[in-house]
């Protein structure tokens, strides 16, 4: 099983939110609505939606990074024109959200939300700031590893994916129940981006590569 289970008591909020009953597998599989997906176009994106460092008058604080990779299906084919949305904490580990009580500074030059469409190779690219780790109240001394949230649409609604991209070498992986909820260590590692010198731009920003593979649907090959 690649995905985490719904119920993972180490992540406390799953206890009252995980479905209690067995999920139903429709005998005919997904229907034609579920096997298609909404369509998004470039006209729906702001000009600088892909560059989270240029959405405000000044430079955000922190370590500027380039995050790029491809959205693929399991056969390695690019998923083109897919809407990829990202959101994240700022360099101090604080979200621009009223509910975030972490006593770390907000950055007036950083909102932390971006979006783009994949190109003909299935590639997405964002310029942003490396997010900070932050505490949460799941358990004593609970800290989230630095991460960027990703939301991706594929070619079928059943492929819809929301996940998190992590950074290599983070010492918090072993202590984080959200990361650890993924049963297989190799699957967990697929959420860790790869530092990439070829993506890194001199005098400007470090580069990270991270590919996203969307799930099959049972009737995909019809």
């Amino acid at each position: 099983m690649t995905h985490p289970p719904y119920l993972y008591p180490g992540y406390k909020s799953t206890t009252l939110r995980a479905p209690g009953r067995e999920l139903v597998m429709p005998g005919l599989g997904p229907d034609s609505i579920e096997l298609t997906s909404p369509v998004f176009g470039h006209q729906e994106l702001g000009r600088l939606d892909w560059d989270l460092t240029r959405q405000h008058p000044g430079e955000p604080l922190g370590e500027r990074i380039i995050v790029t990779g491809r959205v693929l299906d399991t056969a390695g084919r690019p998923v083109r024109g897919a809407l990829v949305e990202v959101w994240q904490a700022n360099a101090a580990g604080r979200y621009l959200h009223a509910g975030d009580q972490h006593p770390a500074p907000l950055d007036p030059n950083f909102t932390g939300a971006g979006r783009c469409l994949t190109d003909d190779d299935g590639r997405y690219r964002f310029v942003t700031i490396k997010p900070g780790a932050y505490p949460w109240r799941n358990h004593h001394n609970a800290w989230r590893p630095a991460h960027i949230h990703f939301s991706v649409f594929g070619t079928a609604f059943t492929q819809r994916l929301v996940t998190q991209m992590y950074f290599p070498g983070d010492p918090l992986f072993a202590f984080d129940p959200i990361f650890q909820s993924i049963p297989d260590q190799r699957d967990r590692e697929n959420l860790i981006s790869r530092f990439d010198m070829d993506t890194t731009e001199p005098e400007w920003a470090l580069g990270y590569q991270w590919d996203i593979v969307l799930g099959d649907t049972p009737m995909e090959d019809r």
Partner: protein, 188 residues
């Protein structure tokens, strides 16, 4: 420092929770308004997402995807920016502090052998992967009898997929994560 993710095709990327702090990134102004309210055939769908203690979930995100009123699957862009005409079939609404969501849309026509339905996807803090369900309409009783999914469900659970009509062109569809009236969730 060059290990992990190879560039060759790899296994499916695991899901992770949407978390509590997506509110400034994923919801957008026209998200719930799949069609404008002024369309004569617009319907309003409202509901609440409840947890296993019966408490509303204020940090859930509900998405819908559906055919148009003729049962055609939309292929035109416009899920984020809408011109008020045309129909893109996609809607997104974050729950409010009382766990409520709403959509303004049209009732879809039937597609294939199914009774008309709206595909519903719910993300939330505490959900490590989203739940899929379907919203069917109460006035289609005859079509429900022949619907391949509804026909498979035990009587006592079928009702969780059928919205309640609350007024002319208004429906209520609550999502319950657990409990006696737990919504039927689908796995494909």
């Amino acid at each position: 420092m060059t290990e992990s993710t190879p560039l060759r095709p790899s296994p499916v990327t695991p899901s992770q929770t949407v978390g509590p702090f997506f509110g400034y990134a994923l919801p957008y102004g026209e998200g719930p308004r799949v069609v404008p309210d002024w369309r004569p055939d617009a319907v309003r769908v409202r509901g609440t997402v409840y947890d296993g203690a019966g408490e509303p979930i204020p940090d859930a995100l509900v998405e819908i995807w559906q055919a148009d009123e003729n049962g055609e699957i939309p292929r035109r862009p416009g899920g984020r920016v809408r011109d008020g005409h045309g129909f893109s079939g996609f809607g997104r609404c974050a729950t409010d502090p009382a766990g409520g969501y709403w959509f303004s849309t049209v009732k879809p026509g039937a597609v294939g052998g199914h009774a008309p339905y709206v595909s519903v996807l719910v993300f939330a803090r505490g959900l490590l992967k989203p739940v899929f369900t379907r919203l069917y309409f109460p006035e289609d009783e005859a079509a429900h009898a022949a619907d391949p999914l509804l026909g498979e469900l035990p009587d006592e659970r079928r009702g969780t997929l059928i919205a309640e009509r609350t007024a002319e062109r208004e429906y209520r569809f609550d999502v319950r994560m657990q409990g006696d009236r737990e919504t039927v969730f689908l796995v494909f």
